[in-house]
């Protein structure tokens, strides 16, 4: 880092420090716990640790931060813990859309309304992957072949994002797929490489190595437009070369998984505002950009009413799919 930029940074920090009391009256007085609702090494855990590193490196908070993994029960452990810590502004919960999807389909002892939403910080894309030597070149070919009804689709967890998307593909493509749930996306990717499955819908980072290594390739991305230009992944292709699924006749415009940040319920608006502000500052750092790029996620920041609207819309959508499949818990 050059001297000028260092100067600029410290100037910016001084400005920030000066304005901080005005933005949020509340300041943490003791160590903060980051609760990752996933086991070590998962996407959510990586996010929590990346945020922790950025905050520590830039000294955005005076107090130390500890990351705790509570990934039991597909993340339910962490959310239940958040619910039990109502009123405690020293617990920050990192999760996904699980927070509102899981209570719909299984009898877990929490709902997203038990928590205070802070922000959705990044969106993970979904792609349709097949084995490298599979005969189909486009999503259209894939759907035609899948009409036989013998296709096996793998995914992480059951009645979670991957299976919801699978059911959407079934509906949009008028096919029937056998969904096989595994523990994680990484495990699913290996099963596809071994030829035990026909396809899966992993996030980019979960199958990046496999694509580079030539054991599987993406057919299309579930996104309204192609992914941003980046370095080539294989010799000839990069993320931006993958067509969207709509282009290829699989009419699912958008399907994304947000990485979400929560506080326990019953915290004061001041306390919530402090963390919203903190996450905004994290997002402004070059390390964050680097993290987003390396994990092939999309940088977004939803908070307040926007975030609420996003949750409501997603909830309606999942409710519809889950209702059709008969998954809703009574």
């Amino acid at each position: 880092m050059g001297r000028t930029s260092k100067l600029l940074l410290s100037a910016a920090a001084a400005v920030l420090a000066g304005t901080m009391p005005a933005l949020s009256a509340w300041q943490p007085q003791k160590p903060i716990e980051f609760v990752a609702t996933a086991g070590p090494g998962g996407g959510t855990d990586n996010l929590a640790r990346a945020v922790q590193n950025i905050i520590t490196k830039h000294k955005l908070v005076e107090q130390p931060i500890v990351v705790v993994n509570k990934g039991g029960g597909s993340g339910a452990e962490g959310y239940v813990y958040g619910k039990a810590s109502a009123g405690d502004p020293y617990k920050v919960i990192f999760g996904t859309s699980n927070a509102w999807q899981q209570p719909l389909v299984s009898k877990v002892a929490f709902n997203y309304t038990d928590l205070t939403p802070i922000a959705a910080m990044a969106q993970d894309e979904f792609l349709l992957w097949v084995k490298q030597d599979a005969p189909y070149k486009t999503a259209g070919d894939y759907l035609k072949a899948a009409a036989s009804g013998e296709f096996k689709m793998g995914g992480a967890q059951s009645k979670d994002t991957d299976e919801v998307l699978t059911r959407m593909i079934e509906k949009a493509g008028k096919v029937k797929l056998t969904y096989i749930p595994f523990k994680s996306g990484a495990e699913t990717a290996v099963q596809l490489a071994g030829g035990h499955l026909e396809s899966h819908v992993n996030n980019p980072s979960e199958s990046l190595g496999q694509w580079r290594g030539g054991t599987q390739r993406p057919l299309c991305v579930f996104s309204p437009k192609r992914l941003p230009q980046g370095p080539k992944v294989t010799a000839t292709e990069g993320w931006s070369d993958i067509p969207t699924c709509v282009e290829q006749g699989l009419d699912i415009k958008q399907y994304e998984q947000p990485r979400t940040v929560w506080l326990p319920g019953k915290v004061t608006p001041d306390q919530a505002a402090f963390y919203v502000d903190l996450m905004k500052k994290v997002q402004a750092t070059p390390e964050w950009k680097d993290y987003i790029e390396k994990t092939s996620q999309v940088d977004t920041f939803l908070t307040g009413a926007e975030f609420d609207k996003f949750i409501k819309e997603d909830l309606e959508h999942v409710k519809q799919v889950a209702g059709e499949q008969g998954w809703l818990v009574k």
Binding site: K30, P31, E33, V66, V67
Partner: protein, 160 residues
Amino acid sequence: MISRRALELATAVLTGSFGVTVVVSSLDNGIGWSSTGVEAGTFPFLTGIIIVLGSLYNLVRSVLPAATLANVPIAITSIELRRLAGLFVPAAIFVAAIPLAGMYVASSLYVFTVLAIPRHQSVPRALAMAAATALALYVVFERMFQVSLPHGALAAALGF
């Protein structure tokens, strides 16, 4: 004094009731085959049934004349029972005290009590060991590995 038979009986009842709980709660998840494959309750249900049947067998065996059972009719003598209680009761109190007193205070009190009260160690030595325990826990867990041990309701009330 506890006879072998009574202990066998109690254990069989314990495992049996666990089995019944498993069977009952697995029924909620559905048993058998559905469009989503083998239903979630099937395996727990089967294991529950096995536990119940096995426990019943053990129960019946323990009621039958002791000749088939074992060569020692007495499982725990009263002296042994006292020794067991001497270890387990303080440990249970220690665990029960953690939410209130926190791990550090509870563990040092526990070490001090079990060493000093039965006069296994002199009071100053017991004190030193109690303090060393709490300090070691703090350094290794809280400092080195960033595992935050419970500080307890008392500490929270005092503002730690």
